[in-house]
Symmetry: C2
Subunit: 200 residues, 2 copies
Amino acid sequence: MANPVEFYFDFSSPYGYFASEKINALAAKHNRSVAWKPVLLGIIFKTTGMAPLPTIPIKGDYAVRDFPRSARYYGLPFRHPDNFPISGVAASRAFYWLDGRDPAAAQKLAQALYRAFFVDNVDISNADNVISVAGKLGLAAAEVQAGMNDAAVKERLRAEVADAQTKGVFGSPYFILDGEPFWGSDRMDQVDRWLATGGW
Amino acid sequence: MANPVEFYFDFSSPYGYFASEKINALAAKHNRSVAWKPVLLGIIFKTTGMAPLPTIPIKGDYAVRDFPRSARYYGLPFRHPDNFPISGVAASRAFYWLDGRDPAAAQKLAQALYRAFFVDNVDISNADNVISVAGKLGLAAAEVQAGMNDAAVKERLRAEVADAQTKGVFGSPYFILDGEPFWGSDRMDQVDRWLATGGW
């Protein structure tokens, strides 16, 4: 059984959103599943000294121009969120709560949260909005809320972020294929070839 | 007459080297010429607060792994230079000296300098090594040396870096097509489509 493609992303990352729309089909082409792993770049940036793209002089302006242009290039809808960047804590906790019960449903929730944020301008740093998005997938509000507040779920998120740091994850999206790391939605062509060939 | 593709690069940038091997053929496909513009990211980074990739914790380690892997992906030879990163001042001055006489020859010099640095491990921050590389293209050592020391050439480099900053250049390679900016060797697929379609 081949290892799943590890897919690390932050819910505030436009490039993570682009990857979330492509990675399952890309992996499936090569008979691979995908292990989705939301992380919190705000914590990881404390180690690397990096900062959210929009806060960097000049490069931030370029990024804000590149987001919608790359979305159109990939054929994906995109609207720059009014509140951006945001904390992915609420969305990530909801994800890991559901992942503990049903990983496939958790992936669908992650995609729905990304689309809510980057297409419908819903602020998913707000727990009530996360509950609302989950509700459209048939998840009961009380259960989602209890899940996000569960101490074990909070600990799971902390442990996943720590594990990602141990593995060298420093940006979003970040893919690990059988130990080989690739950073960025613009590395998906290399991910494709690596899965086809096992390396070069 | 279509505008040339503006191609900004730093002589210490592996991704600039990759682009230098591809951009002329890419532009020619679309009946465009290329205006080569070496810049000094060390100066530009003072504005943006960015740092050379290898100096960034974790991300730097990834970059050092990505350089040869991306080179192989692009089908290009690559050897990580022993002295890296370096100052591109000497190489850039030699470039602009020659560009003032013969832009096509200056492009060939830039390619030869990049290959000397990233394939043959020649430290092109050393003016004597720049002169030696230029010599293999038939340029007289005394003329190259005088060119690098010419006050007008030094001023040209300063002016080009300042102009690049004005245009928003913050990394290498950086392309501007009819005013539209693209950053990174991994945006060459978008550059290709933009030149074909005029935008999307």
